[in-house]
């Protein structure tokens, strides 16, 4: 569906634009972190360490702080090669106290870095799945409206305009009010890496830090409602853009020609309209991922997400500590959100500059 001209223009823009490169690197890092979270965390993100050690709590540790008079130092599993036998062995390495929680801990003694790493999973999952769902809803809707035009178009687009009468966040909150008492509010997704490390299907040697991975949470809580809601709130933008494209493409000569040759509407939609409308849809989808990440963060900040292992919920959690000098608990997850959204926005700018779909600003928001 993507022509050579588009590819070469993407490539040229990528080599010329430092911003595009930064965006790709940022997103690659965050996706990598999200996927391999159990292997990358220093600690279990959910373990609370209240009152561990010499009676004094490990809560509210500032980033990089040494723990004076404290016996606890973190431990780290390290796979090493035994120099004499050539075997792989797992050794426990002691970690100096100040590196044990590089970004500090929150008031429950949970490691902030580990929580940020796990938070990337929810953010990215909701961002990508939510956008995919919104695309699946909006694109066919817009295609039908734009292609058939007339009465049908009027009716469909008026209905879509009704959706636009609500600010996204307001509609999202109201919808969450509807859905949060259902049984599918959240779902527990099993973590394949943890399962593999715990079972013996895969030799542990293939999994980095296998013992550590085995001790990580077995499931990730996935906010189903939030994903549905962000899609329900944002599909209209896809419908609008697609409709506009379909409307102009259906007047092109090659479409008329195809129709006169007896091609069915479905064929024309699939073979002519959709491929030619794809560029602005892709650009919009990229921009939407950024919006949805922000929307998810806002909803979980407000406590509507159903899971507290997300960036937004962690920011909410650190809020009370701000006035008593515990600045890091809220600050750190916020920086992660910014990194993710900046990354996606840079990708979006790159696509927009390279593909020039002319949709500036028509892209929704929180």
């Amino acid at each position: 569906m993507i022509s050579d001209r588009v590819k070469s223009s993407l490539k040229r823009e990528f080599y010329q634009s430092r911003a595009a490169q930064v965006g790709v690197v940022l997103i690659a890092i965050i996706l990598f972190t999200a996927v391999f979270a159990p292997m990358l965390t220093p600690h279990d993100p959910t373990t609370q360490r209240v009152g561990t050690g010499n009676g004094s709590a490990l809560t509210d540790l500032p980033p990089l702080s040494p723990i004076p008079g404290h016996e606890f130092v973190g431990t780290r599993d390290q796979t090493m090669v035994n120099q004499t036998t050539g075997e792989f062995v797992n050794v426990q390495q002691e970690v100096p106290a100040n590196a044990s929680h590089p970004l500090g801990t929150n008031e429950r003694g949970q490691d902030i870095l580990s929580r940020i790493i796990y938070g990337a999973r929810v953010s990215m999952l909701v961002g990508l799945l939510g956008t995919a769902l919104a695309t699946l809803l909006g694109v066919p809707y817009g295609l039908v409206a734009g292609y058939f035009g007339g009465r049908l178009d009027d009716t469909l687009m008026r209905a879509a305009d009704v959706m636009l009468a609500f600010p996204s966040l307001v509609l999202a909150i109201a919808l969450i009010g509807v859905f949060r008492d259902t049984s599918f509010h959240t779902a527990e997704l099993p973590d394949p890496f943890v399962a593999a490390a715990q079972g013996d299907l895969v030799p542990n040697i293939l999994i980095p830090r296998a013992e550590h991975v085995a001790s990580m949470p077995e499931t990730t809580t996935f906010p189903v409602t939030v994903t549905l809601v962000v899609a329900l709130v944002n599909w209209v933008w896809f419908a609008r853009i697609t409709r506009g494209e379909a409307l102009s493409i259906r007047a092109e000569e090659y479409v008329t020609a195809a129709r006169s040759l007896g091609a069915s509407d479905v064929t024309i939609l699939r073979q002519h309209i959709l491929p030619n409308a794809i560029t602005p849809i892709i650009v919009l989808a990229t921009i939407q991922v950024a919006f949805i990440i922000l929307l998810e963060a806002s909803l979980s900040f407000l406590g509507f997400s159903g899971t507290n292992l997300t960036w937004g919920a962690d920011i909410q959690q650190g809020r009370d500590g701000l006035s008593s000098g515990k600045w890091w608990v809220s600050t750190m997850p916020g920086l992660a959100i910014i990194a993710a959204v900046v990354g996606v926005n840079l990708l979006g700018d790159w696509l927009r500059d390279a593909l020039d779909p002319g949709i500036q600003g028509e892209s929704g928001g929180i």
């Binding site: 009468a165 966040l169 109201a174 806002s298 900040f301 600003g361 928001g365």
Partner: protein, 330 residues
Amino acid sequence: MQYGRFLLRRVFHSLFVIWGAATVVFLLRFITPGDPVTALAPPDAGDEVRAALERRLGLDDPIHVQYFEYITDLMVGDFGNSMEVLDRSVLDWIFWTRFLRSLELAISATILAIVIAIPLGVVSARRRHTPADYSATLFSLGGISTPNFWLGLMLILLIAVPVGFIPTGTPGPLLHEAVGDLFAGDPGTLGDWLRFMFLPALTLGTYFTALITRLTRSGMLEEIGKAYVKACRAKGLPETLTMYRHVLRNTLIPIVTILGLQLGTLIGGAIITETVFEWNGLGQLLIERINARDWTMIQGIVIIIAIGFVTINTVVDLLYAYLDPRVMEE
């Protein structure tokens, strides 16, 4: 003449949209699992009590009757009573203090954004590839990528806490009170208003500042390349006049529509900002009522917001058509 027709069409369209929105809001309650009567009635309530409650809430009629009553009530401005505090009228709870507080916040943020962003965008476009341009670009990228609840917390952390005199957490005076006191010879209330408004408006306005800066910059750059700019220069028009009277003006015309479309972001942002600063407005009320599962209140707030949103969008469209008469041709 032509403008009159356009105006009528737009107004009809927005009335239709508001009706649609009201219908959606009505339906929301019906797809909600759980029964408000069970939630409200005491656990040991007998059937009689439950039936009375049901009647009181108007839930004993068939759905189409309820819908008809709901819409006709709305048309005469009757939003019903709260479901939790049964004798409190929805409208009374929303208006005026709550409503005004949110409105003041949104308008202050918008003004702040426009005042900062347009000069920034102009400078950025005219001094392309200078440090000023790079800083503005970086700022606008950061601004559109920063969640505003986090920004609000950071401003509290970095400004409110160290400086001390900027309050958070308690509602300040309303503007009309402040202005009233000013005329009565007491400027202190206005000072309070400014102190209370500053951080929330900055928090809410940052996204818009960034967005408008970005749009102004790219719009100006696109506009500067057009042939009429050369024609302006050819007829001897000084550069500042060319830039402001022609280029900036034409850049702002599409920005006005984009801002209309993005107004939803502002309202959403206001809800979050209100939560962060414990700003006693519509947004905070909405969150609170959602948590209380008070559906008549939720419906009322959502409809009021939708009406405001649609009205402003319509005004923006009419303004746009006035500034650029070509849009009426479509």
